[in-house]
């Protein structure tokens, strides 16, 4: 790799990164836009892809695959910033548990 290699420019806040991941998983319209026009879809998140790195035809991972990737980021290994509504520390323990479902993966009835 040298200084002339094309690289993706990324300037994204943690909050916006979470939002992007969630939209990739849940927002079909956004996924369709990303497939049609990646730079248009991602520029609002501070991501610019050089033309050399754009595939002729965009293919996205499934929502499940992206959800698994989100789970690997959404752990306690990374410091939390503002805007994350995790309230366990302030709550009666069962509210904390209910909120923590996303981490403990209890089966839902």
């Amino acid at each position: 790799m040298n200084g002339d290699d094309p690289v993706v420019e990324i300037r994204i806040s943690p909050r916006r990164a979470d939002e992007l991941m969630n939209r990739l998983i849940d927002d079909d319209e956004f996924r369709a836009q990303l497939t049609r026009s990646p730079n248009d879809a991602l520029s609002e998140y501070g991501i610019v892809i050089p033309s050399e790195l754009l595939p002729d035809e965009v293919e996205l991972p499934t929502s499940d695959e992206l959800r698994q990737a989100r789970d690997r980021v959404d752990t306690e290994d990374y410091p939390r910033f503002g805007g994350d509504a995790y309230m366990g520390k302030f709550s009666p323990i069962w509210i904390c548990m209910a909120w923590f479902r996303k981490f403990i993966r209890l089966p839902r009835n």
Partner: protein, 393 residues
Amino acid sequence: MRRYRRSRYLFFYCDDRPLLDIPALLHGRAVLAPIRQILAISTLTATEFPISRAEFDVLLALPADEWADRDGADSDLLGELARRGVVLSEEDGDQFRELRRREQALCAGQWNIYAAVYHYLTKWCDVDVPPAGGELEYDTPTAELTEAFIRAAGPPPPHFADVADATLTVIDLPLVERRGGLWETLTRRRTTRDFTPESLTLTELSLILRYTFGCHGSSEVASELTVLRKTSPSGGAMHPTEAYVLARNVDDLELGIYHYGVERHQLELLRRLTPDECDTIALELSAGQTFVRDAAALFLITTRFYRNYWKYRQHQRAYAVLLMDAAHLAQTFYLVCTELEMGVFVTAAVNGANIEKALGLDPFVEGALALWGCGRPAATAPTDFDRYVPRVP
């Protein structure tokens, strides 16, 4: 030529959070790749956002203690950073004027820099905690969830702290029991989140306010300094904590938001509310904690920062003292309500920014800390957590 200066309340953070590898994403693969970014943290706008090395260098070259002229590319870049609250601009316009006002309020208000970044960057706005807009699942089997939580997070630290040193001299203390009065009230204190629809009387509300927040004496210690005597301690006897009542179900009291005027022991009506508005605002301010709608009265707890910072100027511990003041008052509130046979709760999971807006406060002068509530406790089936075994050492 435009003039700029860097905010004194600006911080930077190196972030290592991974993001999806974008080229791989477009080829159908969900692979994570590390991205390293410098985040600028603006206390003035309570936001963090990535900046480039070039922007970082421009910021370092800009003084915080005097206005500096800039033109060309630097001016364009600084104009954008000014809109984000990282630098201040002398430009006209409401946004720039407001940011200059906030900076001035923090400086003149004698805010310690670490306290300011903590307070403003941890305040919630428009947070709705129940997942996906639904209500929290109070009926979820708690034992199952608790076990799962312990499996995921590991066991908590031991419930009794032990000093692991067998060589310590140990003295058994005389076990003395007292009955009645304060002793019994202390042992009956508990948190309640289930309330009956029964109202509070105005006398009860008056008692709660008078014995929690009321003034029971004053002393003029200098020509322009009077200190008050209250039922809870306060750092430097400054008593900066204020109480606003959201009266939902109090006899002879219109539904609405009131300020408790300590000097004359009065309620000052700030805003009338309909029952629906009461419910909506209670939910909004408590970040969606549905049980708050059942409390007869809610108490919005705020603090007047400069009342304390006037004395403890830019002091590293002053902000902690504000929180401790509110916590002392919370315990007094618990005891007064317990004595009145009322159920009580205190929550810090609140939308502070929404509380300030609802009360018409300038958040750089007076800020929200917590929300309390009380009412008649419902006789509900005890949960696992209520089944305490009496313990005598």
